[in-house]
């Protein structure tokens, strides 16, 4: 299974997520520069990594979401390509219109950098099949703008359609309904603020994140 990681100026989790994908697939992902206009042929998963693309100028993820490669990501996502956005990647995906809502400044105004408990709300998505619904996992978060905002109708729709993949099990950033990660209507795009790629081996303090990559690759066909 071929995978790809998009690299923006200011990405800083691109190598972490590349390690996680390589661990799951046995093959190093293609690293794709944001100015490229096409994704490599035959990839099954593309990751939009964490970081501070374009220094968070204008709004977090706003400028990255308009970079040339995102047109290709949008086109391929419409055809079913699995897209995983973590942290800044989640912000980029909402700004690109691939996921609803927006990520705003944390309610406490603090940059939150610690491990948090999450509940896997829906283990039926292609990204969460390595877990059980209702299971609690711990992933690190490290963000300033993780406060998920959407109108009540959108939130009800996300809940009703089982599109809340992860929910914070403790107060973290003021997110509406404690939402930590959501999937798209078709279920092939996941955005989440916590970092599963930073929890893939015992030396990280746990490997709760490993099952996410393993489960995803199993679905896509490693």
């Amino acid at each position: 299974m071929k995978t790809a990681v998009i690299v923006f100026p200011g990405s800083n989790c691109d190598r972490d997520i590349a390690v996680a994908l390589e661990q799951a697939t046995g093959t190093a992902p293609h690293m794709v520069w944001h100015r490229d206009t096409e994704l490599p042929a035959g990839i099954g998963v593309v990751a939009v990594p964490g970081g501070f693309s374009y220094g968070d100028y204008l709004r977090s993820g706003a400028l990255a979401a308009r970079s040339p490669i995102m047109t290709a990501v949008r086109e391929q996502a419409a055809r079913g390509l699995k897209v995983l956005g973590v942290c800044n990647g989640f912000q980029v995906l909402t700004e690109a219109g691939l996921l609803p809502g927006a990520l705003m400044r944390n309610a406490g105004l603090n940059f939150v950098c610690r491990d948090v408990a999450l509940t896997v709300e829906n283990a039926g998505t292609v990204f969460t099949r390595g877990y059980q619904s209702g299971e609690q996992v711990r992933f690190p978060v490290a963000h300033h703008d993780g406060n998920y905002v959407a109108d009540a109708e959108t939130l009800d729709q996300l809940e009703g359609e089982g599109r809340v993949a992860f929910r914070y099990a403790e107060p973290v950033n003021g997110s509406a309904r404690n939402i930590a990660g959501i999937v798209s209507v078709d279920g092939n795009v996941l955005g989440m603020m916590p970092h599963p790629e930073r929890r893939i081996e015992p030396a990280h303090g746990g490997d709760d994140g490993k099952r996410m990559f393993a489960g995803l690759l199993e679905t896509v066909g490693a």
Binding site: L58, R59, A62, R66, T94, E95, P100, G101, A102, M104, R105, N106, A107, G108, L109, N147, V149, A150, G174
Partner: protein
Amino acid sequence: MKLRIYVTLKPGVLDPQGKAIEHALSGLGFSGVDSARVGKLIELEVADDTADADVDAMCRQLLANTVIENYRIERA
């Protein structure tokens, strides 16, 4: 031609930054500040014949995130 684009949070969208400013003002002893909201001012220098529709498109496609923000265009 100079344009000023004011980008503001939609009513009802919580503004933690505005809240902090509101508290800081009352901490300084200013009473009667009921609310503070933080927005952005973006100044653009554009060709005189730039169409209104183009400016509007700039706002919708990039300058404002219309999920959470409103914008207002002012010709200077």
